[in-house]
């Protein structure tokens, strides 16, 4: 009998601090180009002199959190907290 399918990472909600530039458009584009990502939603929640706090929702089927983290690093963004994670069977 085949093993039941394993739940996969489907949704990530992150609270992120990033420099103003590159913009959220560039960051969103880079995240959307990751494998298994089907949607990226970035909402600006706070603006400071040099930085901004954004809420990023990444959705897909079988997301790789490490890859998401790498993109954040490249963009000089710091993940402050992981606010929501959703694992479910495909």
């Amino acid at each position: 009998m085949a093993d039941p399918p394993k739940p996969q990472l489907k949704k990530l909600v992150l609270d992120v601090l990033k420099p103003h530039k590159p913009s959220v458009v560039e960051l969103g584009k880079a995240l959307s180009e990751l494998e298994a990502v089907s949607s990226v939603n970035i909402t600006l929640s706070e603006v400071d002199v040099d930085t901004e706090t954004v809420r990023i929702i990444v959705e897909g089927n079988g997301l790789d959190y490490e890859e998401v983290k790498k993109v954040m690093k490249r963009f000089g963004a710091a993940i402050h907290s992981i606010d929501e994670v959703l694992y479910s069977v495909p």
């Binding site: 420099p19 913009s23 002199v49 490249r74 000089g76």
Partner: protein
């Protein structure tokens, strides 16, 4: 298939780096250096050609040798000076951002840009005077190898130099969305004043 995927990943990273450089206004800085140093190169070559002509040194080899040495020195000084200045500014900006973000940005594109941008800008800065000077010196370089009238060649070189100055001014006019012709002519006038000063020195 794997090769194609890694190539597309490399291209993606380059595109990302380019976006970071745009965000850091690197093109704008490079453009500024390009005009500034090309103008320097064109004017100093104009003074070399005009001075040589007015003191009666009409051997094209002497003018080309002095001119090339001059623009090469300007190129080297432009490259090294700009690289060190830009690198220092970028590193300062990186440290400031790190302290604001309370995070290490050594693996970020900001760190890569702080190295790539100074090299790119320094290259533009170093090449600008060399190219501007070579345009003016090209008729004289030809005159070394071909039996042509040197006086005519010097006149062509000065005309080419003024045309280079006009092009630089016109480019500035386009950047500032001002009148291209007037902006170009302003540069030509500065060139003529430089030539005039050389004539005055010769008369003294």
């Amino acid at each position: 298939m794997v090769g194609l995927r890694s190539l597309s990943r490399v291209l993606e990273r380059l595109r990302e780096l380019r976006a970071h450089m745009r965000a850091e206004r690197v093109d704008e800085i490079a453009r500024r250096y390009l005009i500034m140093n090309a103008f320097d190169g064109a004017l100093s070559i104009l003074s070399v050609i005009a001075s040589a002509f007015f003191v009666g040194a009409t051997d094209p080899r002497i003018i080309v040798a002095i001119g090339l040495a001059n623009c090469l020195a300007m190129g080297i000084s432009g490259f090294t000076g700009t690289f060190m200045t830009e690198r220092a500014e970028r590193m300062r900006r990186l440290r400031e951002l790190e302290s604001v973000m309370l995070t290490d940005l050594s693996e970020s594109n900001f760190n890569r840009v702080s190295l790539v941008a100074p090299i790119y800008v320094a290259f533009i800065d170093g090449m600008a005077p060399v190219l501007a000077a070579l345009i003016s010196l090209s008729p004289l370089i030809i005159a070394i190898f071909l039996p042509v009238d040197v006086i005519l060649v010097i006149q062509i070189a000065i005309a080419l130099n003024l045309a280079t100055l006009f092009a630089l001014g016109a480019f500035l006019g386009r950047v500032s969305r001002a009148n291209v012709a007037i902006s170009g002519l302003k540069m030509v006038v500065i060139g003529l004043i430089t030539a005039l000063i050389c004539v005055v020195f010769k008369a003294m």
